[in-house]
């Protein structure tokens, strides 16, 4: 996977975002811009709205007020045209336990914009799951399932990766592997929006930090 994202003018902008949950204001007046090759790192205590913000970035949840634009256009009006540029790994891995890793990746690839350079087998090799292609996902360990969820990011050509605690249940080796993928993605002009309790080992020059507890 060495293709550069050809269009480096992509820009995700949030302006005046507010999120209310159960009559509690989680955050308001939040502004940010995220451009090609940059990382948005969300910090904050539990329940401070990190996941809610990520779901707003995905377009699954609507902000109470404020606008979220992709290249100047509102993401809700873009719909699938926005979604073909993003890949999301949430709390739940989004894998079918009764299917094999390859079957899961084939499905993920078909739902997005397929990456011509990365077949499902290649993606499995990248996350060290080669040899597990045909084993039902149910029989994989939690860490292996997480790695498979991350492999899903590789089979589509999505510029923006939205990751909710991507290091959950990964071991040291798994975390290294994931960081390698993230670095590579960012260096190719991709964008990253993520939350993490771990210190993230990424190039700090291109990281925007947003602390939701502040």
């Amino acid at each position: 996977m060495d293709t550069q994202f050809t269009d480096n003018s992509m820009l995700l902008e949030g302006a005046g975002l507010e999120c209310i949950r159960d009559d509690r204001v989680l955050f308001s007046g939040l502004d940010f811009t995220l451009g090609s090759g940059q990382t948005l790192l969300l910090e904050g205590r539990n329940g401070s709205g990190k996941t809610s913000l990520l779901r707003i970035l995905c377009g699954i949840r609507l902000p109470e007020t404020g606008a979220l634009t992709w290249c100047g256009k509102d993401i809700t009006s873009l719909g699938p045209l926005y979604h073909e540029h993003i890949a999301y790994v949430g709390h739940r891995d989004g894998l079918k336990l009764d299917l094999s890793p390859v079957e899961n990746l084939v499905m993920a690839r078909g739902l997005g914009r397929p990456n011509p350079d990365t077949r499902p087998e290649d993606a499995l090799r990248r996350v060290d799951l080669y040899g597990f292609e045909d084993i039902p996902v149910r029989n994989l360990s939690a860490g292996q399932q997480r790695r498979l969820a991350l492999a899903r990011l590789l089979v589509t050509r999505s510029q923006l990766w939205i990751l909710d605690e991507p290091f959950t249940s990964l071991d040291v080796h798994g975390i290294e592997l994931a960081e390698e993928l993230f670095l590579e993605h960012v260096s190719m002009g991709g964008m990253l929006a993520m939350t993490s309790h771990h210190a993230v080992n990424l190039d700090s020059a291109h990281i925007h930090r947003i602390n939701l507890s502040a």
Partner: protein, 227 residues
Amino acid sequence: MNGESTGSAFVLLLRRDLILAFRRRAELMNPLLFFVLVTALFPLGIGADPELLKAVGTGIIWVAALLASLLSLESVFRSDFEDGTLEQFLLCAHPVSILVLAKVLAHWLVTGLPLLIVAPLLGVLLDLPGDSIKVLMLTLVLGTPVLSLIGSIGVALTVGLRRGGMILSLLVLPLYVPVLIFAANAVETAAAGLPITAHLSMLGGLLVLALSLSPLATAAALRVSLS
């Protein structure tokens, strides 16, 4: 995204759901077993008088099919909701309504189609005349997809609720009533020797209506449920 890749996403999802259903085939037997048992218990309950059974037989089969379809409804989106794949569908590069259509079609193939195959046997069991069975089959072919399509809207609305089963029935059953009325009436009319084209046209119309509108409504309902 062009139409060709959307088409292939439709086929992929349809295949995935059929494979998943096949790997959990024990669960598939439940609605079918329910359908057969309910129908088989009726003669025991109301007496095995052939005239009586002839009069109420098609009604019994239709009501049992309707309840069996309601029973299996929840599985359309439940497991996808729980493991997070439903979120991925909402974030995909294709219109969600197309994916919904693939899921409902897969669901009908694994739950509705078996009912269709067993229904004529149950007709024979209840000693229905051949012509009635033929009309019954016609109405089931047109009617059961409508049940799945309407039901998917209800499931999409209730999938986020912890105990959605009761609300689902209350939401969906009233919408099932027109289908039941036209289907039962068609069989009755045919038994009286009158033409039933009007009834079949109505059922066909309902099917076209459900086919075109329900995926859009279901997609919107899924967005509400997941937000």
